[in-house]
């Protein structure tokens, strides 16, 4: 049972380049989320998706693009990376019934460095 995975785990890119972070979950959870973690801020929501082809902005969406063509995948794209986007990125998912409806399950994170 793989759960929720992210790739790559580490990425270094240059300012202005496009980079895509991948997230895959095997639970068929309806909801998926992208967070960034920065010192002094905890985790902040970038985008979330309630189902395939349904996405919405979170607290800090500027500079990011998401898509969700399949329930199990939720890629996050930085169209033109900036140094301020250097961060650790977490993907999460949750179901819609029972205990899973409130708890979010997190992937292992991707550390992104923009030089």
């Amino acid at each position: 049972d793989a759960g929720i995975t992210q790739s790559p785990r580490y990425k270094i890119t240059e300012t202005g380049r496009q980079v895509t972070l991948m997230c895959h979950q095997t639970w068929s959870h309806s909801y998926m989320f992208w967070y960034r973690q920065d010192l002094g801020h905890g985790l902040r929501l970038i985008y979330y998706s309630a189902a395939a082809d349904i996405t919405d902005k979170g607290e800090v969406p500027d500079g990011y693009v998401v898509s969700r063509s399949k329930t199990e995948n939720f890629p996050l794209t930085l169209e033109s990376a900036t140094r301020s986007q250097t961060s650790v990125y977490f993907c999460a998912s949750r179901g819609t019934s029972g205990r899973a409806s409130y708890e979010q399950y997190f992937g292992p994170g991707t550390r992104l460095t923009v030089t």
Partner: protein
């Protein structure tokens, strides 16, 4: 907007002792959920405990318990019989509409042998 505040950037506890981590939040809602997540050096976010706001009884999970004071908007985590494996960052989190979870800035817990 809802905010979550953890006023203790760092805390330290002796092994086998008890420690309490503080969390306050700001909301105008009456129905919401609160969580404590643990993040060890591996970076994995691990759910420690959760509390439904409509429940008056404080949640407990083995050595972990909370003191939920709804009127005061306070949600502290008590770790009893601290173990070396408890050393980690601890994040308090709030969610109302099930989509926008708000996190505090975290408390780094050190456990001394």
């Amino acid at each position: 907007a809802q905010t979550v505040t953890q006023s203790q950037p760092e805390m330290s506890v002796q092994e086998a002792e008890t420690v309490t981590l503080s969390c306050t939040y700001d909301t105008s809602e009456s129905d919401y959920y609160l969580f404590w997540y643990k993040q060890p050096p591996s970076r994995q976010m691990i759910l420690v405990i959760r509390q439904e706001a409509y429940k008056q009884q404080n949640a407990t999970e083995n050595r972990f318990s909370v003191n939920f004071q709804k009127a005061a908007k306070s949600f502290s985590l008590k770790i009893s019989d601290s173990q070396l494996g408890d050393a980690a960052m601890y994040f308090c989190a709030y969610i109302h509409n099930n989509n926008d979870m708000r996190f505090g800035a975290g408390t780094r817990l050190t456990v001394k042998p």
